[in-house]
């Protein structure tokens, strides 16, 4: 892991203001910002560990622990709320058996709130692994979930 982080730092070191670029690349690689990465990044970019921690903790996008295999982001903003996003959120939590910011016990799904995906005219909206879905209903949620599970399905599971 440390060597991968070193090569990420190398890739962005000459850019102006590189810290957030480096953090995005680390999260793209590992799915989150590992605690041990902060010291390496601080050292590599000549910043204090407090500065790195301060940036990581400021931005909601950066995760502090590994996510599930699939990340389900439900929009919780006003336009989606007006189209019953609350009902969808209740259904999603019930269906997955977890709350927001949690991951299912089998490591398949993480559930995250998100505040506007820019799909407000086709609300309620959600995103799964970067793929956007609109005009969501409870039924459609179950369908999308089933699609995600297909490739991983094992006999008897």
């Amino acid at each position: 892991m440390i060597s991968q982080i070193h090569s990420i730092i190398e890739r962005f070191r000459s850019e102006p203001g590189p810290l957030i670029l480096v953090l995005h690349a680390i999260q793209a690689e590992f799915g989150y910002i590992p605690e041990e990465a902060k010291a390496v990044v601080a050292d590599g970019l000549n910043l204090s560990r407090a500065e790195v921690h301060g940036v990581v903790s400021f931005y909601h996008f950066f995760r502090h622990s590994p996510p599930g295999r699939h990340v389900v982001q439900l929009c919780r903003a006003e336009a989606c709320q007006s189209m019953h996003a609350d009902k969808l959120a209740t259904h999603a939590q019930h269906r997955l058996g977890i709350g927001f910011h949690e991951t299912t016990a089998d490591g398949e799904f993480s559930l995250e709130p998100v505040y506007c995906l820019g799909n407000c005219a086709c609300s309620p909206a959600m995103m799964v692994d970067g793929q956007l879905y609109g005009r969501m209903s409870n039924e459609r949620f179950d369908e999308v979930l089933a699609e995600q599970q297909l490739p991983h399905q094992r006999p008897g599971s």
């Binding site: 995005h24 950066f62 336009a79 007006s82 189209m83 506007c116 820019g118 799909n119 005219a121």
Partner: protein
């Protein structure tokens, strides 16, 4: 004979199944030995009809929507490739009342062209504004923007030309043009539609801004929630760079302008311009005390233009057709055009 079918790849259209519809149309056409050329455009903004597919006919583009996967065989049976009657038939796109009465300047190409096809962009008046700019002096360009009456489309409505003049008059070894694409308020999606549907308009606007004030480097600060726009912008920047519209020598003019997209990380506050600058510099997005204004001391402490997506994308048509052309739209102190986004619990959400 081959027929052109437009199927949007705007994120909103994709979110309701546009990719699956495109694939099904290609498969059905193959099975029926029909030649169909599928073009992936941006969205026309009639979002309640997405996926809205359009068929090119002798009389114009005929719309069908909202098309689901299950509708595809029926559309072929109804001869939709000839504009045939069907329950989803909406007539000529540009005659749909929602669309017909719109005056589109900044959004003229959105939904019409293939977003990252530079030839298509140029065939629809693209890069005419930049070519015009290259014949003008810096002060003259800034004056044209001032005279157009364009005011910031991000919400604060500050006159764009005055901002540019401040940057132009600030002496510095390095200046920057930044685009605030942190469209975070729920119910807003016009910036996203433009970036996905006509990215070259934003790129051209930023290039003109750079030349106008003497900035050689631009950054688009894009929210992380917009992965589709991120891909489209990067693709368009790569195309523009390879064709000499960006880079060390813009269209052989001797002007340098390099452009980069940087992602935000889920902080709503970064839509505020000084916290956006902090974030672009790789720090916590905390608001700076003003003065100094960003136009004097902005990104990395240098004079910086900070404009919204729609403001910058409106610049090419102003330089192409002239300040008075743009100024003649609108009313009072509000000149030009402004897209309005309709969303939420509505029958017909979209962009007007």
């Amino acid at each position: 004979m081959s027929t052109i079918v437009y199927i949007p790849k705007d994120a909103a259209a994709l979110s309701v199944g546009a990719d699956a519809v495109a694939q099904a149309i290609a498969e059905q056409a193959r099975a029926r030995s029909l030649t169909v050329i599928i073009k992936r455009n941006g969205s026309r903004g009639l979002l309640w009809l997405e996926p809205l597919i359009e068929v090119e006919t002798a009389t114009g583009r005929v719309a069908y929507g909202p098309v689901s996967l299950a509708d595809v065989p029926g559309l072929f049976e109804a001869s939709f490739l000839q504009g045939g009657a069907h329950a989803l038939h909406q007539g000529l796109t540009e005659q749909i009342p929602y669309f017909k009465n719109q005056q589109r300047l900044t959004f003229a190409r959105v939904g019409l062209i293939e977003p990252t096809n530079l030839q298509d962009y140029c065939a629809h008046d693209g890069y005419r504004g930049l070519r015009q700019t290259l014949q003008m002096g810096q002060a003259q360009i800034v004056q044209a923007v001032t005279d157009s009456g364009l005011r910031g489309r991000g919400g604060a409505a500050f006159p764009t030309g005055i901002k540019w003049k401040t940057v132009l008059d600030a002496p510095a070894a390095q200046k920057y043009v930044t685009c605030n694409a942190d469209e975070g308020d729920s119910g807003t999606f016009a910036d996203r539609m433009l970036m996905e549907g006509d990215p070259f308009a934003l790129i051209e606007g930023m290039t003109i801004a750079g030349i106008a004030v003497g900035a050689t480097r631009g950054f688009i600060y894009l929210r992380a929630e917009y992965p589709h726009a991120y891909r489209t912008l990067n693709e368009a920047i790569a195309v523009a760079t390879s064709q000499g519209y960006l880079g060390a020598n813009v269209l052989g003019s001797g002007h340098r302008f390099d452009l980069e997209v940087r992602l935000g990380a889920g902080a709503y506050i970064c839509g505020e311009e000084t916290s956006m600058l902090e974030s672009l510099e790789g720090r916590r997005g905390e608001v700076r005390v003003r003065p100094p204004l960003p136009a004097i001391k902005g990104l990395f402490g240098m004079p910086t233009i900070v404009n919204n997506v729609i403001s910058l994308a409106s610049v090419p048509i102003i330089l192409d057709k002239g300040a008075s052309f743009y100024r003649d739209f609108g009313t009072g102190k509000s000149r030009g055009t402004l897209p309005i986004q309709l969303a939420g619990n509505l029958k017909r959400g979209g962009l007007v």
